[in-house]
Symmetry: C2
Subunit: 817 residues, 2 copies
Amino acid sequence: MENAGFRSGSIDSLHHPSEDDDDEMVDIAGATLDFSATEDDPPLGSGSYEEPGSSSGAAGMNGGGPSKPLDPLEETLPGLGTYEDFNTIDWVREKSKDRERHREITNKSKQSTMALLHSVSDAFSGWLLMLLVGLMSGALAGGIDIAAHWLTDMKEGICLVGFWFNHEHCCWTYNETTFQERDRCPQWQSWAELITGTAEGPFAYIVNYMMYIFWALLFAFLAVALVRAFAPYACGSGIPEIKTILSGFIIRGYLGKWTLIIKTITLVLAVSSGLSLGKEGPLVHVACCCANILCHLFTKYRKNEAKRREVLSAAAAVGVSVAFGAPIGGVLFSLEEVSYYFPLKTLWRSFFAALVAAFTLRSINPFGNSRLVLFYVEFHAPWHLVELAPFILLGIFGGLWGALFIRANIAWCRRRKTTRLGHYPVTEVLVVAAITAIIAFPNSYTRMSGAELIAELFNDCSLLDSSQLCGYKQLNNTQTAVGNSLADRPAGVGLYTALWQLALALIFKIVITVITFGMKVPSGLFIPSMAVGAIAGRLLGVGMEQLAYYNHDWFIFKGWCSPGADCITPGLYAMVGAAACLGGVTRMTVSLVVIMFELTGGLEYIVPLMAATMTSKWVADALGREGIYEAHIRLNGYPFLEAKEEFEHSSLAVDVMRPRRSDPALAVLTQESMTVGEVETLVESTHYSGFPVVVSQESQRLVGFVLRRDLLISIDNARKRQEGIVSASQVLFTEHAPAQDPDGPPPLRLRGILDLSPFTVTDHTPMDITVDIFRKLGLRQCLVTHNGRLLGIITKKDILKHMAHIANRDPDSILFN
Amino acid sequence: MENAGFRSGSIDSLHHPSEDDDDEMVDIAGATLDFSATEDDPPLGSGSYEEPGSSSGAAGMNGGGPSKPLDPLEETLPGLGTYEDFNTIDWVREKSKDRERHREITNKSKQSTMALLHSVSDAFSGWLLMLLVGLMSGALAGGIDIAAHWLTDMKEGICLVGFWFNHEHCCWTYNETTFQERDRCPQWQSWAELITGTAEGPFAYIVNYMMYIFWALLFAFLAVALVRAFAPYACGSGIPEIKTILSGFIIRGYLGKWTLIIKTITLVLAVSSGLSLGKEGPLVHVACCCANILCHLFTKYRKNEAKRREVLSAAAAVGVSVAFGAPIGGVLFSLEEVSYYFPLKTLWRSFFAALVAAFTLRSINPFGNSRLVLFYVEFHAPWHLVELAPFILLGIFGGLWGALFIRANIAWCRRRKTTRLGHYPVTEVLVVAAITAIIAFPNSYTRMSGAELIAELFNDCSLLDSSQLCGYKQLNNTQTAVGNSLADRPAGVGLYTALWQLALALIFKIVITVITFGMKVPSGLFIPSMAVGAIAGRLLGVGMEQLAYYNHDWFIFKGWCSPGADCITPGLYAMVGAAACLGGVTRMTVSLVVIMFELTGGLEYIVPLMAATMTSKWVADALGREGIYEAHIRLNGYPFLEAKEEFEHSSLAVDVMRPRRSDPALAVLTQESMTVGEVETLVESTHYSGFPVVVSQESQRLVGFVLRRDLLISIDNARKRQEGIVSASQVLFTEHAPAQDPDGPPPLRLRGILDLSPFTVTDHTPMDITVDIFRKLGLRQCLVTHNGRLLGIITKKDILKHMAHIANRDPDSILFN
C-alpha cells in the first residue's frame, strides 16, 4: 500500500535510461495492445463479491437506492476492477470474477439454444486459443530460424542464384555436390570472391574479415536501433519479466503487438550479428506475446488477468517447445521455472499447445532434416560407472560458472544501471558487436553460430567425418569401426589444433557472454551457456579419451576400456557439460534433464545428465541462492514472491505490518459516519492504494476493504452524474441506511465497491505462514487483527521489503506494489 | 469439528465387514509401524506458534508460572500435536512445525562442528531417503515380477529341473532350443504330461483344465485369506486411499509393515490366480508403504505428517515408474493424479527416486530383455492423418467404457457394502476366481496373463511371427518386407479365429473386471483397462487393415495406401485403444501420454495418443465427472477435497458454517473467565474437535483456537502433576493473569496450547474462495466472523457436506473429519 504513482521512477528500472523520450516509447509500445485489460473495456462486474450472495441481500450500488439494487451504472462504470500499470493483481478477485462469469453462462445455457451454444463455445475457447498459440508460435519460430540462418550466412557471402538463399539452400540446386563438398558450389560466393575474384590469399581473407565485421555491426545497429525506436520492452530475454507477470504483475505493453513485431525482427538481427546470445529465451517471450495478443479474441481471456496468465503459462511451454523441439521438456520448464499459478488444466493445455507448436515447426522444417529437435544426438557407446567422476567434475564446473556468471553479470548490469554506461546503449551494443566480430572471425569455433558450435561439439565422430574435431590419427590395423562407431584413437594434428582453438573460444565466450547478456537487444542465455559447457565438456572428453588410449592398463580403465574399444564418447561429455552449465545459470533441474532426454531419445544417458545437473545446482546454490532470472528480477525491483524458497525467519505478522509502532495510526474509513468531503481529504492526504472500512473509530472492528482506485472513480462518477451528492453527503458502506437528517443531502452508497471478504491474519501469525498464504492465494494485501480489532495491514511489498531486510539487502530496492 | 469418535463406524467403510474381528486386525496391522507419529514419540514442540515469536513474549506453559516460560513438560507432554486415527491433519501447523525445526538446526549449526554435521546430514536426509525408497521399491517390484511369472506358469505345468524355475527359465538351459520352439523343452512338463504321461488328447486337456482351476482357486484363496487374516488394508488398488492420505488424512496402519508384507505376497498370488486384475496400481501402494516405513529412519520425516506426505508423493511416482518402466510418466502421474501438495522440491526428488527405482528394476531384469519398459513397442510404418478418425473412434469407445465401468463398478461395490454379499468376501473371491478360470482357460487370449495379452496385441507382425494374430495369407509375389516390416496382407484363417477369440475375450473382460475390482484382494485396474482397450483397438486395426487392403482405391485410402504398402499398423491401434480405455477409467491425460511415449520412445505417435486420450476424457467427463479413484473415495466417504474441480455454486460462508440459524450458539471458551470444571463440562457435553477462545461471551472477539485433544491432555496432565489444580481453578488463555482471589486455587495456564493464529473468513466470503483457501492451505477448519465478532466455524467436513448437498447427494455419506 505504498506509493501508487511509481510510473516515472519505474520506467528507469525497465532497462532503458530515463533521460530520453522513453515514456513516449512505452506509449507507442502499449498504445493499442495493453497487457492488462484496456480501460475502455467495461469491467465484468466490479462488485462481484457482492453479487453471488443471494442470501446476503446484495444491496444498492452507488447511485441507486435500496429499491434499485441492480443499477446499470454498476455494470458500466469504467475502470472499476481494473489495475494501474506496474501494480500487482489480486488473484482471488480475478478468479472469483471468472467463476462468476462461468456461473452466469452455465445458468443461462439452460434457457435457450443460443445460450447453450455460447456455453459450449466458451468451454472450448481455451482449446481453440491453445491451438492458435501453438500454430502462431510454431510458424514464427520457423520464420525466425530461416531468417537467422540466411542472415548469418550473409556475413560470409552471397548466393548468385538469388540473394534470398542461404548457403545450404544455394548449393541444393547444384547437382555435382558430393558428401564431402556439400558446402561448396560455384553459385555461393564469399564476399572476397565477389569483390576480388579470388577466394584464396591474405587479401581475400582480409576482405572477408572486413565484410564479416561490417555485417555484424550493421545487424547489431539495426537491432538496437529498432528496439529503442519502437519497442523498448523487446530487449533482453524477457524471462524475468514474464516470471514476474505470471506471478501477477502488470506491465502494459510488455506483451503487446509492437513488442512482438520488433522482438521477432531484432531477434533475427541480433542472432545473425554474431553476438554471444541465443534465440531460445526470447522465443519464450515471443510465444507469450502471441498468446497475449490472441487472448484478445476471446472475452474470457481478454477481461480476466488470472485466466490470461494461465494461457501465458502454456505459452512459456510453447516457447521452449519450439526452441528445442522438446514439448514435454517445455511443459516442465514452464512448471518448474516460469509459472506461478499452474493449475492442472493448464498442464494438459500447455502440453497440447507445445505439441501443436512443435509439429508446426517441423512442417516448416527449418533445420532441413525433418528432425523435431534442435540438436539431434545419437551415441553408439554406453557409458561406464567410472565416467561418473568426470561427469560430476563437469557438474562442479557448471555450478561454478553459473554462480560466477550470475555475480559478474549482475555486477555489470548494476553498473550499467547506475553509471553513465547506461546512457549509451547503441554505442555499447556496437562496441560489443565489434569486439565480438573482431575476435570471433579468426577462430572457426567462435565464428560459427552458437547452435552450430554446440551441434558440432555434441557430435560423435564417425568414419566419414571430416571435421577438425575428428582429426584423429588413422590407424593402419584392423581396429575399424563396428557399425558407425569408431574405436578410440590417438589424437592427430587436426584435433590438437581444434583443442587449442576450443580453449581460446571457451575463454572468449566466458568473458563476452557476461557483458552481452542484458544489453538492449533481444538476448537469450541458453545457447551461450550451453556452448561454454559443451566446449569444457568436449575438452575433458577428449582428454579422457586420450588418457584411456595411452593408459588402458590403469586400474580405473581396466576391464571396460581395452585397446581398440570405443569406450569414451567425447560428444557425451559435451552434452553433459552443456546441461551442467545451463543448470548452473538457470537452476533448472528436471526440465533440463527432460529436454536433454528428448534430444537423445534414450533413458540411457539420464544418469550422467542427472549427476551433472544435480552437482551443478548444489555447487551453484552454495555460492548464491538465486538463478539468473531471479537475480534480474531483484535487480529490477519487481515485486516477485519466490515460490520455491521457504521463508525461514521467525518473525510474526506484527513485526512486518504497517503502521509500525512509532507510525501514526492506520488510515481507515468508517462504515457510516464519514462524509464525502472527509473521505476525499483522507484519500488525498495519503498515498495508500486501499483503505480498510471499520464499524467505528472506537471499536476498530473490520467490515471490509475498499480500493483507492475504485473509491475515487465512484465518488467522481457520483458527483458528476448523481443528483445531490456534495461534500457533506454521508458515505454509507452499510446495507441499511441509519436514521438521518431528512433535510440533508442524500447519502452516497458505496457498499458495491466494498470488498466484504478481506483476508485477515492475527498479529501472532508467524510470517512463514503469512508468506505461504500470500504465495498460494496470490494476495495483494492482508489485514492484521488482534483479538478481533483491526491493527494494521501487510502488503506484498511489505513482505518483500521485510525479506530484503532479513537478507541484509536494501529494502528500498523493491520498487513496485 | 464433528464427532471425533468415528473409529468403529469408520472401519466398515474400509472394505471389510464389521461383524468379525476387524478391529484386532487393524491393531495388528498398525501395531508397531503406525502411519502417523506414534503416540510415544515426544512431539516436537506443541506450542510452536508461540515459541518463534521473540517479540510477542512467549509466556508460561501449563504448569510453570510466568517465571518458568520453558517448562520441560511442554516438550514431553505425550500426545500434544498429534492426530487421532481417521482425522484430517492441519497442513499449516505441520509445515510450520517443520520450518521451526529447520530454523533450530540452522541456528545451532553455527555453534559447533557436530551441529553443523547434523545440519548437513539433515539437509541430505531427503535425498538419502529417496535413494532408499527407489532401491527398495525397485527390488520389491522385481521380486513381485519374478514370483508372479513363476506362479502364473505353475498353473500350466512344472519344471522338472527345479520347481522354482518358470517356463522360460526352465527352457533356457535346454540348448537345442531354436527360435520358433523357444517355449518347448522336455524339462518343462504340463500337468497333463506329468500326471497322464501325454500332452495331447481330450483327457490331457481336461487334466490341464482342472489343474488350472485348482491352482487359480488355491492362489485366490491364499490371497484373500492372508489379506483377511493379517492386513485388511492390503486389498484393492490402494490408490484412492493414498490420494486421501496425501490430501492430509490419517489412516493408521494403511502404510505399515504388515500391509507391505501381506500386500506384496497376496499381490503375487492374486495376479497369478488369473483374476482380471493388474499389479500396477498396487505397486503404487507397495512403494508408498516402503516410503512410509523408511521415513521412520529419519526424525525429520517420522515426526512430521506434511514432510512425510512429500515423500509419499514421490513414492507414488516410484510405483508407476517400476510398474511401467516410465520414470517421467511416473512423476507426472504423481503430479496429475495422486498428489495434493506437490512442491517443486518434490518434483526433483520424485524424479530421482523414480529413476533409481527404474534402474534397480532393470538390473534385476525381470522381463529378461534388458528393457526398462513393461511393453516395448516399435512400429515401422508412420500413421496417416485419415487414421485420426478411427483413433478418435477408439477414444469414444474408451470414454464410454470408462464411464460405464465406473458406474457399474460403483453400483456393484455399493451393493457389496450394503447387502449380505459383503459378508462373505472369501466366498466371493473364490466364486469369481472359479468363474474366471473356467471361462478363461479355453480361450488362449484370456488364459494368458493381462500383461502378456497386451504385449501380444501391441506387437507389430513381423515375417517370422508365428502368433495367431499374424495369421495372414502368405502372398506368393514379391511384396515382401522392407526391413522387418510387412506389407498389408489379406487375413487368413488363423487371424479370423484370433478375431473371434478376441471378441469373446473382450466381452468376458468387460464383465468380469466390473465385479473383480473392489474385491478383498490386491487388484489394480491399469492392466484390465488397457487389455479391454487393446483388444478393441486391435480388432478395429485389423478391420481397417482389411478394409484398406480390399478397397485401396477408395478415396480415403487413395494416395497413401497403395497395394503392397504397409499402411496400417494394427498394433498401433491396440496401443491407442489401451490408452483411451485407461484414460476413460482414470481420467489421466498428460501422464498417460507420457507413459506411452516412454514405451515407444518416439514423439511420432503422440498425436494419435493425444487425440484418443482427449476424446476419451471428454466423452467420459460428459457422462460422469469422476474418475474411478474419486468415485471410490466418495463411496468410502473419505474427506477428500478435489483440487481439480472448481466450486461453482454461489453460496457464501454464512450458508455453510455451523451453527446454523436454528442451532444453539457456538460452543466457545473465554480467555480468562472460565474454571477448569466449566471447561470440562463444556468439552464433555459436546463432540467438537476444537473450540474457539474469545475475549468474553459478550464481545465474541476471537483470541485463538484450541483443540479438544490438546485441551483434554493438558487438563488431565495438570490435574495429575500440578499442585492445586482443582475444578475451581481458573483457566487462563491470556498472557498475563488478571487480578484474582489470592486465596483461591492457582490458575491453569493454557496459552501454550492455544493456536493464536486461527484462520478466519468473513461471513460474506463466497464459498468458492473459501474452498480455494481450504484446498491451497490444507486447512482443517476456519472460523467465520462478522464485523470482527465470531459467528461460526466451517470445517472440511462441512464443506464436503455442502458440496454433496449441492450435487443432490446424501451429505451423510461424508464419514470422517
